[in-house]
Subunit: 307 residues, 2 copies
């Protein structure tokens, strides 16, 4: 089954201690779509400016990503400039230029309004709400957010939460949204706000999944070198939702496998700048690392029954 | 099969942002022994002062821990004072008084020299070496160390490493010992120094296991409240070695299960100050949390075979 994703398609400047890129393809919807497309058809709802390069549109189109709702407007594409510390878990935003993204009013095409799987990437909760109201009977709705919306449009965000099946947040955002410094308490508090499931992204420490059924914890795949963590969270979401849409089942069991596939996709994207690693990736690469990932986390558990 | 542990038995002052204890039973050998004793017989080789309370000796003896080589000397027991930050991953050492531990010359009893399982808790590498040379044909030797020995007695430590089956370190120590900031590279570099297996303890983020066979990653059990992280690493080691000694098999598979049991024991000890939680723990508590832990990390993996 196909997925609709609403979010940003952007150009990023990324500085790290070992290199940098300028005007590299980025944006939450780009990362999400390319990752999810390994599993299932994906439609992107977003806006770009007149500077958006034909070759970038081409790279997405060649993957079979539906770009009919990727609007092109007069002006410049959304531009983000970030700088990572030596410790790649930390980054500073040097600048954000909304450009054509300012005033973005997402409009889904008729067939997109009948989609089963919807991902509301990190945009203003009011826009996420707008998109959600255009979709008739989605089977699964997932959403992401950030500190800005938690602080500045909290009421809008809270209203949205009860309509989400899955909310993704990083650990800092989970603490901010819940007001709890302990992550387990934070997870419980956020579940009580409405989403059926919460996925807390912890960067190099992996993902914590909270649901009424319990907790699931996966580490991140340990890598020898991380080049650029940008987009890891959206790539994770793309792999996770892609697997769910492909399997067509949403159960505790399929959700756990989905979280592993999301972690696998995320482990690739950080190996190069921008979407470079995703664009060269093959299904064979994914399958190999999935098996390595399962081996990484398989406890070979043999319970000691008698004392 | 039984385990011999050489390390400290101490009195600790522990300050946290929500409470404190003074002169509480602590020390690496104490935590290790009480945890391991849930699985198998344990002998403690250590030294205490004339101030060591009969009731503390009694509490250890009542668990069936062999204290014949717990020497009592004129003077004060080893004393450590630590203070945890709001973020419990960080702590400062306020003071360390070696007291009777200064000049400690461990001597194993005749039967202890024939032990199969030996744990060299965090003491000077030269003392660890001394103990190792007293043991005839151990089946498995594991050891712990700290930043002090890595910096000040590096040569002694390096010499010891090739004689260890398992080395336990925290992530900061692994980086320090290897000179690599990336943990995967650090792990590989340390394996090349000799130990057959490396267990990197990452506090609330769990454990990374490195061996020639590959990597194994487990999260820490997510807790709603952490009261006192002191001794978590030694308790982990106790649960891990305890399971191995009990099972009598050392394979990649049994080592992974052992790491989970270690993590389970460590998840209890931090719930109260000192060894309080370990002393009240039942096998039923351990078994329940082991099952919860397996549920926490079980990916229900269903590999997607066709593209």
């Amino acid at each position: 089954m196909s997925i609709v994703v609403v979010g940003s398609v952007a150009y990023d400047d990324v500085d790290t201690t070992h290199g940098n890129v300028v005007d590299a393809l980025g944006g939450s919807a780009s990362y999400f779509a390319v990752a999810a497309r390994f599993f299932t058809p994906v439609s992107v709802v977003a806006v770009v400016g007149s500077d958006f390069k034909a070759e970038d549109r081409q790279r997405l189109a060649e993957r079979g990503i539906d770009l009919r709702a990727l609007e092109q407007k007069e002006g410049r594409t959304f531009h983000w400039h970030g700088r990572y510390h030596e410790d790649m878990n930390k980054r500073d935003t040097v600048s954000v230029e909304l450009n054509v993204f300012d005033g973005f009013m997402p409009n889904l095409l008729a067939d997109q309004r009948r989609c089963d799987y919807l991902f509301l990437a990190n945009i203003a909760p009011s826009l996420q709400q707008r998109v959600l109201s255009q979709v008739s009977t989605p089977k699964l709705v997932a959403g992401d957010t950030m500190n800005l919306w938690i602080n500045e449009t909290r009421d809008d965000l809270i209203k949205l939460l009860s309509r989400l099946d899955i909310l993704t947040l990083n650990d800092e955002e989970a603490r901010m949204l819940s007001g709890e410094s302990n992550l387990v308490k934070a997870g419980r508090a956020i579940l009580a706000m409405g989403p059926r499931m919460l996925l807390v992204k912890r960067g190099e420490y992996g993902v914590l999944q909270f649901s009424k059924e319990g907790m699931f914890a996966v580490p991140a795949y340990p890598l020898e070198e991380v080049i650029d963590p940008t987009g890891a969270g959206d790539t994770f979401a793309g792999g996770m939702m892609g697997f769910l849409a492909r399997s067509g089942r949403v159960s505790e069991s399929s959700l756990r496998t989905a979280v592993v596939y999301g972690s696998v996709l995320a482990s690739f994207v950080v190996e190069k700048f921008s979407l470079d690693r995703l664009f060269e990736l093959t299904w064979d690469d994914i399958d190999k690392r999935y098996r390595a990932f399962i081996d990484l986390i398989d406890s070979h558990h043999a319970r000691w029954i008698t004392q």
